[in-house]
């Protein structure tokens, strides 16, 4: 193992982490503010990716594709919030799980009907296609590095939005006491639609960004959704800061685990067994991390008890 490879994997973990943050931020906000568990968040991720792939294929512009992903996911988010999700705020968690599970079925099959079962591909824009040489002589894909930068920018933007702006104050107030801010004349319904659409847009954006690395296909959202749940459980539900820390933890743990564990086992095992045991264990690592956090802090790292 060379240090260069190690650093490259570290960056991959970071890239995975910021992508998970984009997914988790919306989930955790929606839960924190509206008390809603949204399984269909993964569908919004998928919608963003498909919108981007379709627009990129039609126009050839990656920027337009990204904007399309934001718009399509935000629109889909606002639409389901207005028609279905808002009926669920006062329901119990079982109803929320089932209704949003139903939405997954509808979105997934609907997308399959529109686009077919074959994966679409979204090309990395030419300007970002090659590798970039980092200090220390590390060659790293420019596109992945861009994702990391974008992720940190979005995180900074979210913190500023929540902590510095009027709408952020309202969001935080909504978490604390719904009746109170309604009494103060804030239009709760509009605020909720906005928060939901914002979370949806972030998810769709993540889907588009990742769509250029992996393929764009039906069902791509759910594995990421479940990882985002792990992130939120670790970080503490409702906390953007927790989502950020949790996302980086999960991204790094997963990537480094897959990279390092087979090598560690190879020290005292024959190579093929080391690879299979190492990678099987690596696939469980983040869940073990989650279990560990749960034992220490049942409400997550930054959750309020």
């Amino acid at each position: 193992m060379t240090p260069l490879l190690f650093i490259e994997q570290l960056l991959n973990g970071l890239q995975f982490g910021v992508m998970l943050f984009l997914m988790s931020a919306g989930l955790t906000l929606v839960f924190g503010v509206m008390g809603l568990i949204n399984l269909a968040h993964g569908s919004l991720y998928m919608i963003g990716a498909f919108a981007a792939a379709a627009v990129a294929a039609a126009t050839g512009s990656f920027i337009l594709a990204l904007m399309a992903s934001l718009a399509a996911a935000a629109l889909a988010g606002a639409l389901i919030e207005l028609t279905i999700i808002r009926r669920l705020y006062d329901r119990d968690h079982l109803d929320q799980v089932l209704a949003t599970f139903a939405l997954i079925l509808i979105f997934s099959e609907g997308t399959r009907w529109l686009f077919g079962s074959f994966p679409l591909f979204l090309d990395v824009p030419a300007a970002l296609a090659g590798p970039v040489t980092l200090p220390g002589g590390i060659e790293y894909p420019t596109y992945r590095l861009t994702i990391i930068v974008i992720g940190f920018l979005v995180a900074a933007g979210m913190f500023a939005l929540i902590n510095r702006t009027r709408i952020g104050i309202r969001i935080r107030a909504g978490e604390a006491d719904r009746e109170m801010i309604a009494a103060l004349g804030v239009d709760i319904a509009k605020l909720y639609t906005f928060v939901f659409a914002l979370g949806a847009a972030l998810a769709g954006f993540a889907g588009a960004l990742v769509g250029a690395i992996q393929s764009v296909q039906v069902g791509m959202g759910e594995p990421v959704l479940i990882l985002a749940f792990v992130v939120i459980v670790i970080g503490g539900i409702g906390s953007i800061k927790g989502a950020f820390v949790g996302a980086l933890l999960v991204g790094l743990t997963d990537t480094m685990g897959r990279f390092l564990l087979p090598q560690v086992f190879a020290l005292f095992m024959e190579p093929s067994a080391a690879v299979s045991i190492g990678s099987a264990l690596a696939s469980m690592l983040i869940y073990i991390l989650m279990a560990g956090v749960l034992v220490m802090r049942p409400r997550g790292l930054y959750g309020v008890s």
Partner: protein, 327 residues
């Protein structure tokens, strides 16, 4: 007798009657469909104990379903290749005996439910949902990345396993076996709902503080319920694998967890026969709608959405009214 009792009897009659008719009409595929319904019902009855009676919204029950399936797959594959399961510290051979396989499936899924339950029951509400989902996913990925038993491709068994006095390869006989198990479990579940444990567990769902204040620990009640629930779903998994003579990580997937939950919702949450009716309707929809359109999940989703938003009690709630407090 209450309307619900009549409905339950009618349900069992249809569930047994359709394959009997199919058997006489020589329609083995229909018998297989009915067997699927029976096995799904059993998995749902398991989850319903945790979900309906205990109020524990587990989105990870596919883990137990799949573990039961793998218990069958692993034991039977070793038996058919005549290789022992392990050799150190002592030799354990595979087996083709259904009874042994069922016991192992029950034990393995109960142990998994114990481990998952101990951790996830420390939390509640939405945390519990996410954590059970996550642990389910952990086992799913483990099965995919563990190459010894087929990994992603799964594991095939050439012949159905053996049960004394039954030709399990005959669809009708295998159906009978599964149906008998379902009936036994339903009888047991009926007793359990009316037992001291059932009373305390459902009281803990309604009001945790109340249960604490009369000196009982909701955590213990829930853990026991979760373990029994996982064990029943695990048994269903072993039967499902035997029905298909195949087990793969799909049985462990989160979609499977969602489907088991759907059976309960369609039929009626917390109702003894809720998952039975739900599984029958699910199989019927899968068959009928699946024949009309390959995108039948859209309709399933719409139906589910409709039930959740507008018909909370499911089919039993609609036909037999609000649940009566049983005494």
């Amino acid at each position: 007798m209450s309307r619900e009792t009549y409905l339950n009897i009618a349900t069992l009659a249809v569930l047994a009657g359709v394959p009997l008719w199919a058997w006489m009409a020589d329609e083995p595929f229909t018998i297989t469909l009915a067997t699927r319904a029976v096995i799904f019902a059993l998995a749902g009855v398991g989850l319903n104990l945790a979900l309906g009676l205990g109020g524990l919204v587990s989105l990870g029950h596919a883990a137990f379903f799949g573990i039961g399936g793998y218990a069958m797959g692993i034991l039977a594959s070793h038996a058919q290749s005549y290789t022992p399961l392990i050799e150190v510290p002592f030799v354990i051979e595979g087996t083709k005996s259904m009874i042994v396989i069922w016991l192992v499936a029950i034990l393995a899924s109960a142990l998994a439910a114990l481990a998952i339950g101990v951790l996830s029951l420390r939390t509640s509400g939405v945390y519990f949902i996410m954590i059970t989902l996550a642990f389910g996913q952990m086992i799913y990925y483990f099965a995919i990345s563990w190459p010894a038993y087929g990994g992603e491709d799964g594991l095939s068994i050439y012949l159905r396993n053996d049960f004394p006095g039954v030709n399990t390869l005959m669809p009708m006989q295998f159906f009978g076996l599964c149906f008998a198990i379902l009936c036994l479990v339903l009888v047991g579940m009926n007793l359990l709902q009316k037992s001291a444990f059932g009373l305390a567990l459902s009281a803990a769902r309604q009001n945790e503080t109340r249960v604490l204040s009369v000196g009982m620990e909701p955590y213990k009640l829930r853990l026991v319920a979760f373990v029994i629930s996982g064990a029943i779903t695990g048994l269903a998994g072993a039967l499902f694998a035997d029905l298909n003579r195949f087990v793969s990580p799909t049985m462990l997937s989160w979609q499977m967890s969602g489907e088991i939950m759907i059976f309960i919702i369609i039929g009626g949450v917390g109702r003894l026969f809720g998952p039975v009716i739900g599984a029958m309707i699910f199989i019927l929809l899968e068959h009928v709608l699946g024949g009309l359109s390959e995108f039948w999940h859209v309709y399933l989703g719409a139906l589910l959405l409709g039930i959740v938003l507008f018909a909370k009690g499911g089919v039993i709630g609609a036909l037999a009214g609000r649940e009566k407090a049983h005494d």
